[in-house]
Each structure stands twice: as C-alpha cells, then as structure tokens.
Amino acid sequence: MKLISLLLLAALSAPATTFYVTISGLGGEPDYEQRFKMWAEDIDSSLKRAGGDSNVVTLVAPTREQIRARFAEIAQQAKPTDALVVMLIGHGSFDGVDYKFNIPGPDITGAELAGLLDRVPATRQLVVNMTSSSGGSIEALRRPTRVVIAATKTGTEKNATVFARYWAEALRDPAADVDKNEAISALEAFQYAQHKTSDFYESQKRLATEHAVLEDTGKGEGERVPSAENGEGKLAATFPVVRLGANAAAARDPSKRPLLEKKEQLEQAIDKLKYEKAAMPADAYKKQLMQLLLELARTQEALEK
C-alpha cells in the first residue's frame, strides 16, 4: 500500500510512460496460429482499453529484423523513469544452452532478446515469456530491476502452454486485482494466471506440463511461489501492468493531499498490524484492525467528496 501511494505521488511530478510490446510467434499449425494471435489481440485490447500513459505495440508473427527495429525505436523514445513490458506468446525451444523464440525466419534467442531489452533506458522492466521451454530463458533475461515471468519452470517443459490464455484474462478481470488498489500488478497477474492454469490441468485430469515461475531479484532461478522467504516477488508486487480505476484523479487535487497522507499512514499502520498478527491475541488484533479499517474507510469517503 505504501508503495502504491508513492507511485501515485510520483505520477504527479514526473509522468512516466509504460511501453508494452506483445509478440505472438509462429504457431506451426492453424489451431496454434489462431490461438496465439487471439491471445495477443486480447492483451492488446485490454491494454488499450486501460488507457493512461502507455505505448502499446502488438506484433503478430514478426521476423527477427522487425522485432529488432521495434526495440530500437523504443530505446530511442524511453526514459529511465519509464517502464517496459514485453510479452511473448508462442512456441519456444531450449537445447540445454540457448532458449529460442520461434518466429518466421531465423528464431530469436534469449540472449538476443536480453540484449535488445538492455538497450531500452526504462529502468523498470517486465518480461512475460509465455512460450513452451520459456524457463530456459530466465538465466539470459534476468536483471536486478527486471521482473521475469516464464510459463515453464525449465527449458525442458516443451509442451505447448496455456499460461498466456490466463495472463490475457488476468489483464481484463477485476478479480485479478486482489488488493483492490485498482491496478493489477505483475505479481497479481502472475498468481491469477498460475492459479487458472493449474485449475485447467486439474479439471481436465491432465498431468500439468507447465509450471510458471517468477524471478525479480536478478539472480534467482524463478520461484513457483514468490514470497518473503525466497526473496522473490517484491518488485513484481509494485509493478502495475494495468490500471483499472481513476484514483489518480483524486491525487491531482492539492487540497486533498492531507487526506492522501492520512490514508497512506493508515495503510502503513494496517500493514504493520498484519505483520504483528501472529504475536498478538486474536481479539486484540481484530479490534485494532477494525478500528484502522473504519478510519481508512472514512478517510477514503472524505477523499471522494
């Protein structure tokens, strides 16, 4: 909560742009071609509908040169305060050393993609590689300020994936916004898609052939369950992929600054209380939580007047 409020305040002083690049690769057969294109278009329309300061590009079955050209353009436009989100949909392969994303003409390797991303000045970056074998790309793509999500845990999970279908769904489903802050973070979208992917295999009575992971420390292998214990997910939790609401409008009104600050303090107090929950008597915790939540609700009400 604290970070969200900080982001809102930051937006007042230096509006940042998020550059979105969605690429669907080669399907190999009509069914996959259609499916990959459909998911890419689904993502494209969610991003465009969300509006805001964004630059949305969707490439369907581009060549390596077309991809390079697009990233070169973004590298020229983007500033360090901006964000970059890259989403890859399709088939991938991994030979034990190199990951390759299947596109018309020569495939593009994980290392090449990493090189293209490194040239974009936007500090905060998110790569969502939803192809088969995408786990094989983590090592090449990971950086300290970059969130990397892969549909498969390793390069050896070679079957076609369904993670992209549910990632696309996450970007348009308000249910993905678990903390109800009117923005779907990379972590929330990851958890939503992971949950739905798991449900898919379970309901079909099929052995899951993909296990999505998230890496945002720049040095990990990717975790199925990002948590404070394994150190993963911190950056992803504060990386908004899409914004759903209009909370930002209130933040632009200087007369409401004191209320916003109070709200931020209350949110911090709630976070702190939740952290202390295990060490407190249940009744005392509930009582204090209720008081803080009521105060927060009243503050929010005042903000909306």
Partner: protein
C-alpha cells in the same frame, strides 16, 4: 506331515540336479524364489515338456503374478494344444478376474482330462458365483465323485448351506482353504461380516494362508475396522505375500491421514482435507434428503450410521472397491449389522467434469444401504442394482443413466438375459458392455414392476429375497407368473418403449457424422436442418457431440439466441451434463432476464461438478437476485472454501448475503476478512461503514 515336508525340503536343498520334486518342495515351503530357480532350470533343460511349464505357471499364479502364469500356460498349449493343466491354469486366471471365458476353459480342460477334479471344482465355484445354486451343487457333487477328498467340492456344498443360513452342514470342509472359499462367497454376496468370520476360521487353521489373511484385512477395511485391517495386511506383506490388493490396501490405509472424518447424527463423512470445506455442505444436505426419502419409501428407520468416503483420487477409490466383480465403479456400498454401512465413491473432482453425477451415485449407493439392511444382505445382485438404478431416475428424471448405444444394440440383437439369470450379467459378464446392459435391464425391470404392480410389490419382493427366496420363486409369488412369461412381457415393454430409437439408431449414427462435418465447415443452416431432423431419433444421446449441442452452437452462430436456449434446455432435460453447455444455458437465460431459471440451471451443476468457483460465484449472485439468501450464503461459502482467486471479493459477497439474512456479526467478520486482504476495497469499506452506522443507531 510336517516332519515329512521338512525331510523333503532338506532333500531338495541337498539334491545336486534340479527335479520337479525339488521345485514342488520349495514351493510348498513358500520358498518361492528357490522354487522359481529350480523351475527355470528344469524348463531350460526340458524345453519341450509342457508339464513343467504348467507347474511353473501355477507357482506364479500362487505368487499373485497371473500375467507371467498366463504366458507359461500359453507356451504349454503351443507344445500340446489340449493340455488339461494349461487350460485349467487359464481358467483359474480368468476366474480370478470374473471373466465369463473361465467356464469354457474349465470344460475344455475336463474334455481333455475327464478326471481333472480341480476343473470340476472350478465349475462348481463359477456356478455359485452366478447364484445358480442347483448347478453349483451338481458340479460340486461331480467333483466329489472324482475325488472324495475334494476340499473345494465340500466347501462349495457347505457354502450353499451356510449362505442359506443353515448352520449345520454335512459338508464342513474343516480345512483352511475350504473356509477361505466360504469367505469369498459371503463377500461377493455382500455379507461381509460373515465373510470375515470364515476368513478368521481359515487363518486359525493355517496362519500362513496369506491369501485368506489378506482378504480378512481387506474386508475388515471395508467394515471400517482400519486398525486390525492394517495389522493383518502388514503381516501378509512382511511374510512375502505382496499381491496388488495387499500392497494397494496398505497404501490406501496410509493415505487416510489426508482425510478428515466428520459426524452429524447417523451421517459420517470422510472427505479429503483439501475438499472438506467445499463438499461437506452439499453432501450433508443430500444425505439428509436421501435418508428422509428412503426411510419413508422403504418403511424402515436406519439405526446404524452410514459412512460415506469420498475419494478425489480414483485409484484410491478403486482400491477401496477392490474385488467386487463386474463393478462399473462409480461407488460401492458395504453393509454390516454390527458396524453400519459404508459407501465409497469418487469425489466429483476425481473424474473429468461432466462425466460423473455424484448425487445420482450417492442416491444409488444409499438405495443399496436400504435394500441390504432390509434383507440382511440376502438380496440378489440384479435386484439391488435394479432398485438402485430405478431410484436414480425416481429422484429426478434428469439424473438416471441414459439409453446407451450398447443397450440399444442388445435390445436389437435380443441379448437381454432372462430375469432368473440376470446376476450372470453382473458377476460373469461377457464383456464390459454386458455390465452396462445388465444395469439398464435390472433398472427397467424395477421400473416395469413399479409401473404395472406398484411400489408395494417391489417392497414385497425385497422382503421375499430377505427370506432367501430365489428370483424364480419371488416372481411366481409376487407377480403370479412364470419367469419365462415375465421375460416375454418385459421384453415387449422394453421393445415398445425403445422402438423409435432401435429402428433409427443406424441412420442416426450415420447422419450425426454428417452434422459433425457440417459443423466443421461452419454450414450452420445445414447443421440446423440435419440436426433438427435426427435429434428425436435418439433423444437420450447427451454425450460428447450431442445433436443438442451442435444445434445450440449453430443457432448462436446465427444469432438466434432463443432457439439456442430452447435447445440447451432440451439438452439438460434429457440429462446432458457437460458443464460448459449448462453454463452456456445459464448465461443465455440470465441475459434474457430469466434469472430464476438461470439459477436453476447452474444449481444442476452442483450435483455434477461443484469444483468451479466461477459457477458458485455466479450462482450466489443469482440467488441473491432471486432473494434466496440461504442459497447465496451456501454458494459464496463454497467459493471461499475452494481457494478463490479474489478472496476480498468473495468475503465481501458473503458479507452482503449475511447482511440480507440479518446476520450483522457474520457480515462484519467477512468484511474484516475482505479488508484485511484488500484494505482499500471500496464496496467493502462502504458496507462496513453502513453496518457500523446502523449498529450505532
């Protein structure tokens, strides 16, 4: 005797060259590995001797490795095509699996060696498994004529008496294997407690008869006596008796720590911890409904508890149901006067969505609880199954199984069994399809009797069976006709009711393929024309690729929503269970403002696949709209019980339902949970303020 065996064994160990006697001595001493080594050497030395292969095969059969035994018996038959021992070996393997070919093989063995008493014993056993007592007695007497010391022959004759509740018999085998045989027959007649007693007698006489000890363990497990079951099975395992049933049962008992057992009155539910919170309300509600209904119908009050075990892993359920012949296996019931009844069934999560109606299975199995209790387990298989199938449709016309293609073929080819022999279709079916046909036939017989003579006649028949009357006697007594006459009238009833389908089945199957082709080509007008023409030729067909679903898709593609809705309504009324199609119907109805019907459509899914959170969420909202707050609370609780994607929303929805149900404290609890997850969640904040303000006033 023991001394002689010990000497034989000592000699076997000392003999330098392998002999058949040496192998048999090791085998008798249960030194299977050494016996196997000797047999291997013997067969290598004498590759053209079929006798060695047959005895080696029997060793494998005794060691619960029937696949290898079958290979050896077949190799022996290649050397001598009418080898009696090899034919008998194959017959024994088939009999273990309740395959109908067993009798034919035993007859062939006898034709090859008319003095082979073991083949004659097998024929007696097979007849008794079919509940053909007269034939069993005749075959057992033949076996005793061949071998006056035949333990199995005496055991069959004794079992006939014991099953008829005659305690004194002239044929008591006084042998462990004889009591093991009796145990087997009590178990397949669902008289588990008595089966357990005979297995106990068997191992008292021969503690090393591990096949009987293992069955004792398995049947104790069926009666909920898990602790002793584990001890008996573990003893078998530790002594080298490790057949699949023993191994798997031990594994299953180990897995019970994943389950929780909850009791409400006579209802005991054993549910996987991961599913308990979600499934418990639905199962409890249905159990209360079914017990109330059946107590009225069967005119008895249940006095012993009923434990329902629900297995999310189908393999666990299969182990639990193990050993039941001809089990189509959706559920299984064990009853006992001392311990009550036990139902084991798949969880709705244990099968692909749409393939399993758990509530129908529960009503089916609960019907067994009542019929077995009422008759003290003296009801023939066909009648208890028939009533159970009848009950599925009696509770709801949509629930029962549909007229399946194998049944249509059986009716067309006049393959329905005479009523007096219908048990054979369950116990020794000619194939999996005959089991399906037998369930259908038994169910339709009960429907027919109910329609023509009334429910009281079915109850009177049940009581007659309880007095151990056989099927022919009961038919004569209650229906006042000979079984053959009943068969004639019943077949006319079935043929009359299915004529349209039977006459058009081949044409329907051919034209359904054309509908499929037209759908692939997106020729929606063609689908509608052809689909509408053939739909009513076989209206019961609601499986994958049903005409109803083809038509609904075609109508939607042409934006004719009312027609699509009407088609999907026909589909669910005909018993369609595809969750996607039912959800589509609910959506169409909701979009058309028919919210109550949309809720009813989704409520059907709770009986089929209640594992889908979106469905509970939508149903909860629809119940809220319809003012059914209790229904809404149940659905929103179901969402929360199943690891929701959006817990804040789910707690908030439940809070709203509690608020409407005038339960402000519960509502506040849920809001607290919603806001703990998402403190800035505006709808929850607003409701919390509203509740607090109301409270302050």
């Amino acid at each position: 005797m023991i001394r002689l065996s010990a000497i034989a064994l000592l000699l076997a160990s000392l003999l330098p060259a392998q002999t058949l006697e040496q192998a048999e001595a090791f085998w008798k001493a249960r030194r299977f590995q050494e016996a196997n080594d000797v047999f291997r050497a013997l067969v290598a030395q004498h590759p053209d001797n079929p006798d060695y292969k047959v005895r080696w095969g029997r060793l494998y059969l005794d060691h619960s490795q029937p696949d290898i035994a079958v290979d050896l018996f077949n190799e022996a038959l290649e050397l001598k095509k009418d080898h009696a021992g090899a034919l008998l070996g194959l017959a024994l393997v088939a009999a273990e699996d309740f395959e109908s070919v067993a009798a034919g093989l035993a007859h062939k063995a006898l034709a090859s060696d008319p003095k082979l008493a073991e083949a004659q014993e097998l024929l007696a056993s097979l007849a008794l498994e079919d509940n053909d007592t007269a034939k069993a007695v005749e075959e057992a007497n033949k076996a005793l004529a061949m071998d006056a010391h035949s333990v199995e022959g005496r055991a069959i004759l004794a079992t006939v008496d014991w099953l008829a509740d005659k305690k004194d018999t002239a044929f008591d085998p006084h042998a462990a294997r004889g009591y093991e045989t009796a145990g087997h027959f009590f178990v397949i007649n669902r008289r588990y407690e008595e089966g357990v007693q005979y297995y106990r007698k068997a191992i008292e006489l021969d503690p090393q008869l591990y096949s009987a000890r293992s069955q004792l363990g398995i049947n104790l497990m069926r009666l909920g006596q898990d602790e002793e079951a584990y001890t008996q099975l573990e003893t078998c395992y530790n002594n080298g008796f490790q057949d699949a049933a023993t191994r798997n049962s031990l594994k299953l008992l180990d897995s019970y720590k994943k389950f929780d057992t909850v009791r409400t009155g006579l209802i005991i539910l054993k549910l996987d911890k991961k599913e308990e919170e979600l499934l418990r309300p639905y199962f409890e509600l249905e159990m209360e409904r079914v017990i109330a209904t059946y107590e009225k119908k069967y005119r008895i009050k249940l006095e012993k508890p009923v434990r329902v075990e629900v297995y999310p892993d189908h393999e666990d359920f299969a182990v639990r149901a193990l050993g039941m012949p001809g089990l189509g296996a959706l559920g299984v019931t064990f009853t006992s006067a001392a311990y009550g009844s036990f139902i084991a069934m798949d969880s709705p999560s244990g099968r692909p969505p749409g393939s399993f109606h758990w509530a129908s299975t529960l009503w089916h199995e609960m019907s067994h609880v009542f019929t077995l209790t009422l008759t003290d387990s003296h009801v023939p298989r066909w009648f208890t199954e028939g009533l159970a199938v009848h009950e599925e449709t009696a509770v709801s016309p949509e629930w029962g199984d549909r007229l399946a293609p194998p049944v249509i073929v059986a009716i067309k080819d006049k393959k329905l069994l005479p009523v007096a022999e219908l048990d054979r279709g369950f116990v020794h079916p000619t194939g999996a399809e005959q089991v399906v046909v037998s369930y259908f036939q038994a169910g339709r017989i009960c429907d027919y009797i109910n329609d023509k003579w009334g429910w009281d006649t079915l109850l009177a028949m049940l009581r007659d069976f309880g007095h151990d009357d056989d099927t022919a006697t009961v038919i004569r007594k209650e229906l006042k006709m000979e079984p053959a006459e009943f068969d004639k009238q019943f077949v006319a009833f079935v043929e009359g009711g299915t004529k349209n389908v039977v006459d058009h089945f081949d044409e329907w199957a051919k034209r359904l393929k054309q509908v499929d082709e037209l759908a692939k080509k997106k020729d929606y007008d063609g689908v509608i024309e052809e689909g509408a023409a053939i739909r009513d030729m076989y209206p019961d067909y609601v499986e994958a690729g049903s005409v109803y679903e083809f038509l609904a898709s075609a109508y939607l593609a042409k934006d004719d929503k009312p027609a699509a809705t009407a088609e999907l309504e026909r589909y669910v009324k005909a018993g369609g269970r595809n969750p996607d199609s039912i959800k589509l119907l609910a959506k169409q109805l909701e979009d058309a403002g028919r919210k109550k019907e949309a809720a009813d459509a989704l409520a059907r899914l709770n009986y089929i696949y209640p594992m889908d959170n979106d469905q509970h969420q939508r149903l909860g909202a629809l119940w809220m709209d319809a003012g059914d707050v209790a229904g809404a609370i149940r659905e929103f609780r179901a969402v929360l019980a199943h690891n929701p994607i959006d817990p804040a929303r789910s707690h908030y929805d439940l809070a709203r339902a509690y608020q409407l149900n005038h339960e402000p404290e519960q509502a506040k609890e849920e809001l607290l949970a919603a806001l703990e997850t998402a403190p800035g969640y505006r709808p929850a904040q607003k409701l919390l303020l509203e509740l607090t303000t109301t409270e302050a006033k």
